[in-house]
């Protein structure tokens, strides 16, 4: 019944099947929307946050989706600025994932603040010294860039493309996309960085604080670097999931291998920097403030050394090596292990840089603060996931997202 909208030559499941799938995920999304409205109308008392845990699950989710959404800017940068042409086969999807991640991040922020109707004060009364101001501006601007990058793909829909203006617009936008991508990369660099800066500048929090370059603490660069490193992992992961769900090969192996290789290099360089940063922090920064490293890791079983080892070794060093090594990179099992570990690693890093900071006491007579999110927090955090699934399902169904789809699946049909 919706065949007129489906890209030419593409094979899609029947509409009822599609609709049922959307409904199931939609129900989860509605649950999240309900929780979202509870938070808006009743206030943040719906959460389990408290004055010690002012940043909690949402901010972690926010940082995590932005980190994994970093695939969009980095792939865009490689494609449009460094002219890595193979990436044109995955750039559309990277942009869509980025779009989902960034729109989710903005939504989460709108729920997270105590006075959503005054949220625009962050722009209007901007304090240029705050990392969060930098985040807000760059995030919204970069979201605009992602929207711009997404528009041509949207206009390639079979029906939209029939409108001459849209067809021309899509064509012309492709023409100047490098400029947008460059601006996007610039903005992205700063907001990924300033998200890292958010933690690093908190000099009242020895667990978070880092020294740095000019006004930017080292976490600024580590966050940008890790987003660029792990973002492509997430793009590949979602592509793979989409391939599994649709039962079709959508991107050629050489493209996947290329992105995985780039990611491997990025991860490896990042993790070396991260290890150096951690050692410097543990042996110089924190002790200079009177803290032994064990203070941060030995009070309770949740925030133990395991978290540090998991983040850096298991989910950093290992995926780096697996993706750098040609044989493990091109072996799909080891590649997927690396990619999944990588995505977990960057999410864990963001968790540590939000929640563990809040948990650690600073005053010698203060206590650890542990927290378990309320269902409203969980529901609103699941909401973006449901929204992302629906968004991908719809875009995949109606837009020519994967340029290689036809070629790959024709071959299959012919065989």
């Amino acid at each position: 019944m919706d065949s007129a909208l489906i890209p030419e030559g593409a094979d899609r499941c029947s509409f009822p099947k599609f609709a049922i799938g959307i409904c199931i995920v939609g129900a989860v999304a509605l649950w999240g929307v309900y929780a979202m409205f509870l938070c808006w109308f009743k206030g943040l008392n719906q959460t389990n946050m408290n004055d010690y845990y002012g940043f909690a699950l949402w901010i972690w989710a926010d940082l995590a989706v932005i980190a994994v959404g970093g695939g969009a800017f980095f792939t865009g940068l490689l494609k449009y600025i460094f002219n890595v042409d193979e990436l044109k086969n995955i750039i559309n999807f990277a942009v869509i994932i980025g779009f989902i991640c960034y729109s989710s991040a903005l939504l989460i922020l709108a729920i997270d603040i105590g006075q959503p109707l005054r949220g625009w004060f962050i722009f209007w009364h901007a304090n240029v010294h705050s990392m969060l101001t930098e985040v807000a501006f760059c995030l919204s601007c970069y979201f605009a860039v992602l929207t711009i990058e997404f528009i041509p793909n949207l206009l390639e829909n079979r029906q939209a493309n029939k409108v001459p203006f849209f067809r021309h617009l899509a064509h012309n936008m492709h023409g100047v996309m490098a400029i947008f991508a460059a601006t996007g990369a610039f903005l992205s660099f700063f907001h990924q960085g300033s998200l890292g800066g958010v933690a690093g500048v908190m000099y009242g929090r020895p667990f978070a604080v880092r020294e740095g370059l000019l006004i930017w603490p080292w976490t600024f660069f580590l966050f940008t670097w890790s987003a660029a490193a792990f973002g492509p992992c997430f793009t590949l992961l979602v592509t793979w999931i989409t391939e599994v769900v649709t039962g079709k090969k959508l991107v050629k192996d050489n493209v996947v291998h290329l992105l995985a290789k780039i990611s491997g290099w990025m991860i490896t360089t990042y993790i070396i920097a991260k290890i150096i940063d951690t050692i410097y922090w543990a042996y110089v920064t924190a002790p200079s403030l009177g803290f032994k490293m064990s203070h941060f890791y030995t009070n309770n079983s949740f925030y133990g050394y395991w978290i540090l080892i998991t983040e850096i070794v298991v989910c950093g060093v290992i995926p780096g090596i697996l993706l750098l090594n040609k044989s493990t990179r091109e072996n799909s099992t080891t590649r997927w292990i690396a990619i999944v570990l990588g995505v977990i690693g960057v999410c864990l890093n963001r968790w540590v840089m939000v929640l563990q900071i809040m948990a650690v006491p600073v005053m010698s007579f203060d206590t650890w603060a542990l927290y378990v999110p309320s269902w409203q927090e969980v529901a609103t955090t699941v909401l973006p996931v449901a929204y992302g699934i629906i968004f991908i399902a719809i875009t995949y169904r109606y837009l020519p997202v994967f340029p290689q789809e036809r070629e790959l699946n024709h071959t299959k049909l012919e065989q």
Binding site: N45, D51, V362
Partner: protein, 284 residues
């Protein structure tokens, strides 16, 4: 607009040997500043207490245990090097909290705050509180609210203002009387005047005639051991909370008891014995 010619730096010194933990300062603050209350205030991590009294122990067992109480208002940090970049002020994205260079007071504008809580994360003293709930008073009780401090709405951060409205009132009075400046006694915070033990001394740290200056004797030179630390006390019995972080708080504490002074900051093993006698030795 009334402008003081002089630059003040209001601060406090709290004598922890006099403090009895009675709670007068907490309630005086609540009453002065229209602080709301709710059914369950036993969860201290979401209980708005601009002035909170912590109980400290020396960690020993019976019968050698000792306890002390430490009242903790907002510490009104002047930030690294004393330049006004307090941990919270520097991070607030909407300029809703600001450092008063003429008073040293860290302000909070409730109607501008949009509740991102970054300042709370940045504050190691947990001096900042979020209005998780709409403030509600039992019927009639809103009649005792003071118009000098506006009640806060849900979803914003609040904290101790060193009773800034009292400073304004004192300044207005001085202006009407044609005086340039206010007397020490004219501007005292609600916790200071309430303390039945007289443990809190409040005044202008920049004014040598003020008692707080005489007790604290702030060192005009940066600490040679940490360039970020300024206004360190030259009184060996006086310390600040988490001084090593370079927050440069303006709330000083006084105690004869070594273990109490040690509890004010974090020290690596053996470090305290090296630094304990260095208090105030940075400048003669």
């Amino acid at each position: 607009m009334i402008q003081d010619k002089k630059e003040h730096k209001f601060g406090m010194v709290i004598d922890l040997d006099k403090c009895t933990g009675c709670g007068s300062c907490m309630v005086s603050c609540m009453s002065e500043n229209n602080i709301p209350f709710k059914e369950d205030e036993s969860r201290k991590k979401d209980s708005i207490t601009w002035m909170r009294v912590y109980k400290l122990t020396n960690g020993k067992s019976f019968p050698d245990i000792q306890i002390a109480y430490l009242p903790r208002p907002c510490q009104h940090c002047s930030g690294k090097g004393g330049h006004g970049h307090s941990p919270c002020v520097s991070v607030c994205p909407a300029t809703a909290t600001d450092y008063g260079y003429d008073t040293g007071i860290v302000s909070q504008i409730y109607t501008r705050c949009f509740g991102c809580r970054y300042c709370m994360g940045a504050c190691p003293y947990h001096a900042r509180y979020f209005n998780w709930w709409d403030p509600e008073w039992p019927a009639g009780q809103e009649k005792y609210l003071s118009p000098n401090v506006s009640p806060r709405m849900r979803g914003v951060v609040e904290k101790c203002s060193l009773c800034y409205h009292r400073y304004q009132a004192a300044r207005d009075k001085a202006y009407y009387e044609g005086r340039d400046d206010i007397e020490e006694s004219e501007y005292q915070t609600a916790c200071t005047t309430a303390c039945p033990a007289g443990a809190i001394v409040f005044g202008d740290l920049n004014d040598p005639s003020h008692m707080v200056h005489q007790i604290v004797k702030p060192d005009p030179h940066p600490d040679p051991m940490n360039k970020y630390v300024v206004d360190k006390s030259r009184n060996p019995k006086v310390f600040r909370l988490l001084e090593r972080l370079g927050t440069n708080t303006k709330i000083y504490y006084l105690s004869e008891r070594e273990w109490v002074r040690k509890a004010g900051d974090n020290y690596l093993d053996g470090e305290w014995d090296k630094v304990k006698n260095h208090h105030g030795s940075s400048s003669k």
